[in-house]
Symmetry: C2
Subunit: 183 residues, 2 copies
């Protein structure tokens, strides 16, 4: 950030009075520009004993497999964001969404939220941001070809929890994995 | 938003290619400015059978009672944000944080997240943004003088769940309450 979104003059970093953090503040109109973490919302769509994954057609991590997920938009609920991303990436409709995993990724200022969900039907298809969309049994999951650590971890939790048919909501901190793109 | 934060030229609202929403886009450098929901994180600090509330010294809802909470900052985890806000508003230290309520407030593009927590000690005090900080038994809660619907709802859930000593994580949508400031 270099310029004020309100008046177009240059901003500088300083700690405003009554605050304790560096903010971008306009030198002309004194507007304070706060920057805050973003939410990524997604689904773990289930059909019987299989789960739906999408192979990414876009960077980062093009060619790797992911759960359908993306940035939550203004005016949405978490469930709406997760459903919309599933529709966009896998042309799939989901129902019975249940909050499942929340991951803190402070190194990239993101929170990732996944819902368990039932696929409503098998009429899914390859969305614009995907190369391939298909159902996987547990034994077929391409563990080394998953796009993001939060996808690995959500699937790990799911297959572990499925043994006891008990799915507690989990909030976990995921540290950076050096050498692996995560955002 | 009127000007580009990257180059200072005017922005206009348009739907970028491959997108399906209006974004602020720079007419000169074509930078796309995304705007996304903010997270408010807070605690429900418990000491025995009492809970800690703060009376707000700042707008909105000055003079009304709240659970300590505020905007999550870049570089934080949800727990760190909730703990920091509790320290800032009530000079209180908490431990054993457990994720409890998540509220979708799409009309103001916010997600509110509260953790149940134990007060570590009774050395709390009035923080800069508070007029008063004290412990309340259930029968003393000033229900009509609470600052925000998500505070009411978190306290309602807590006293109900406490009867059975079972505290499921809840994700709820809260619609706007007309005539009551909520942000």
């Amino acid at each position: 950030m270099k310029f004020c979104s309100q008046c177009g003059n240059p901003v500088t970093q300083l700690i405003p009075q009554g605050d304790n953090r560096l903010r971008y503040v306009c030198g002309a109109c004194e507007f304070v520009h706060y920057q805050n973490p973003n939410i990524v919302a997604g689904c773990l769509p289930v059909w019987g004993d299989r789960v739906l994954l999408c192979r990414r057609a876009i960077e980062p991590r093009r060619g790797y497999w992911t759960l359908p997920a993306g940035f939550m938009e203004n005016g949405e609920t978490l469930e709406q964001a997760a459903s919309r991303e599933t529709e966009e990436e896998a042309c799939a409709r989901v129902r019975q969404l249940a909050l499942y995993t929340l991951f803190d990724l402070p190194h990239i200022s993101q929170v990732h939220v996944f819902f368990r969900a039932e696929l409503a039907d098998l009429d899914f298809a390859v969305g614009e941001e995907s190369l391939e969309v298909r159902l996987f049994e547990q034994s077929e999951i391409p563990w080394s070809q998953l796009a993001f650590p939060t996808v690995n971890r959500t699937l790990e939790c799911y297959f572990a929890d499925r043994l006891g048919q008990h799915y507690p909501v989990r909030n976990e901190f995921l540290p950076p994995l050096h050498g692996l793109a995560q955002s």
